[in-house]
């Protein structure tokens, strides 16, 4: 999409969110190579780095660290932020818009299930929906 937008001179920016666990997929790095090779500065990747995947902690299942150095070496502008801090998020997105000649990767450090006591940092919540009762409890805590 970012390539097509460049081709059409449309000035459209493309935002792509990916998890940290999925950085273990080879295709991510194929796409990373392509993005910097074709100088896709209209592409902004946001990595949700909560260090949890289905089988457990990312660094224990199959470490993908250091994430920032990997993307830097793949030709990205890299911005590390606290993914729960709205000011840092806005600043990073604004900064990404000013980067020329290369794509940007925002590595957002996050906590899975933040704000819900029984969900925080629990890998089990990676891929399941809460039951009605759990949903009610979670919403009460968030409100």
């Amino acid at each position: 999409m970012a390539l097509a937008s460049k081709l059409n001179h449309e000035g459209i920016r493309v935002y792509c969110i990916c998890g940290d666990g999925e950085l273990q997929e080879g295709q991510i790095w194929e796409a990373a190579m392509t993005s910097s090779h074709y100088k896709l500065d209209n592409l902004c990747l946001i990595v949700d780095n909560n260090n949890l995947q289905i089988d457990g902690k990312v660094d224990e299942v199959m470490s993908i660290y250091p994430i920032d150095e990997k993307f830097r070496s793949f030709g990205f502008e890299v911005i590390n932020i606290d993914g729960h801090d709205m000011n840092q998020i806005i600043n990073a997105l604004n900064k990404a818009k000013t980067v020329k000649g290369k794509p940007t990767a925002i590595i957002a450090k996050t906590i899975k299930g933040k704000g819900v006591s029984f969900m925080e940092n629990v890998a089990d919540w990676h891929g399941k929906a809460p039951k009605d009762e759990e949903y009610k409890l979670a919403m009460e805590e968030l409100n």
Binding site: M1, A2, L3, A4, S5, L7, N8, G26, Q27, E30, A31, M33, T34, H37, Y38
Partner: protein, 263 residues
């Protein structure tokens, strides 16, 4: 039929693609480091701004082609059949076939006829894989004229297409008087002793067999199935009624191949 003059269907593909690129500015071409062999290099030379070499990254090539299609481009993505659909099953299924995106996967070097490249490159499962993909049109062409017709035809249909092409030069079967119709097989001969169904490189071999058999008093017909999906059911049923035997010649595993389309 004079089957002396030969040309590889990948060559016909490359030539036609470069010609279409002139008329249709939405056509973009992607390759994975094999443009010299798949013949997309002809397009690349003429339209470098619309040609993307993705390097040896077939998975990303298919996903990028899908992305380009969402912006109304007409991407033609080429590699050898083994890599174009063997290495990229997931990307084609989820990013091209299910969302029904207008991507043309044109794969050369299909089948055992790729020869000395060996088993790792002899793709004999591709028709089975691609026929199973939802929305995917599957074609396999037998000569120069038919390939050029098919390339133009698929550039007009707004659906994902898999076009199977061959490495080696094969005979020119058809002349300008031949009419090609999408989804319709071509009947060669009226024999009733048997029907041979063939596609791609096996069509000229089937014609040679037909001519040999005629000398022995056995009269068969050959059906050139260039559109494998959707298959020409009407013609298959007609042949089943009119001839004593149905035979398929495959440059593919029988499982998932041409025979599986009717039996």
């Amino acid at each position: 039929m004079n089957l002396e003059i030969t040309k590889a269907t990948r060559q016909s593909y490359g030539e036609k693609l470069a010609e279409l690129g002139e008329k249709n500015k939405d056509i973009v071409v992607l390759d994975a480091d094999l443009s010299g062999a798949t013949k997309t290099s002809i397009f690349a030379k003429k339209f470098p701004e619309r040609f993307f070499d993705m390097g040896i990254s077939e998975q990303d090539m298919m996903s990028t082609a899908a992305g380009l299609a969402t912006f109304e481009k007409i991407p033609f993505a080429s590699s050898f059949a083994m890599f174009a659909c063997g290495r990229t099953y997931d990307q084609i299924r989820n990013s091209i076939a299910y969302p029904n995106l207008n991507v043309k996967i044109c794969a050369s070097h299909a089948g055992v006829t790729v020869g000395e490249d060996g088993a790792t490159h002899q793709m004999i499962e591709d028709l089975g894989i691609m026929r199973g993909m939802p929305n995917m049109v599957v074609m396999c062409t037998s000569d120069d004229l038919q390939t050029k017709w098919a390339v133009e035809e698929i550039s007009k249909i707004k659906e994902p297409v898999y076009l199977r092409l061959c490495r080696y030069a094969t005979p020119l079967i058809y002349d300008e008087t031949q009419k090609f119709e999408f989804g319709k097989g071509i009947q060669i001969g009226e024999g009733t002793d048997a029907t041979i169904f063939a596609t791609g490189v096996t069509v000229s071999e089937a014609i040679k067999a037909k001519e040999e058999l005629e000398k022995k008093g056995i009269n068969i017909r050959v059906i050139d199935i260039h559109t494998i999906k959707p298959i020409d059911e009407e013609l298959i049923i007609k042949c089943a009624k009119e001839t004593k035997k149905l035979i398929s010649i495959e440059d593919h595993n029988i499982i998932g191949g041409l025979r599986n389309c009717y039996f």
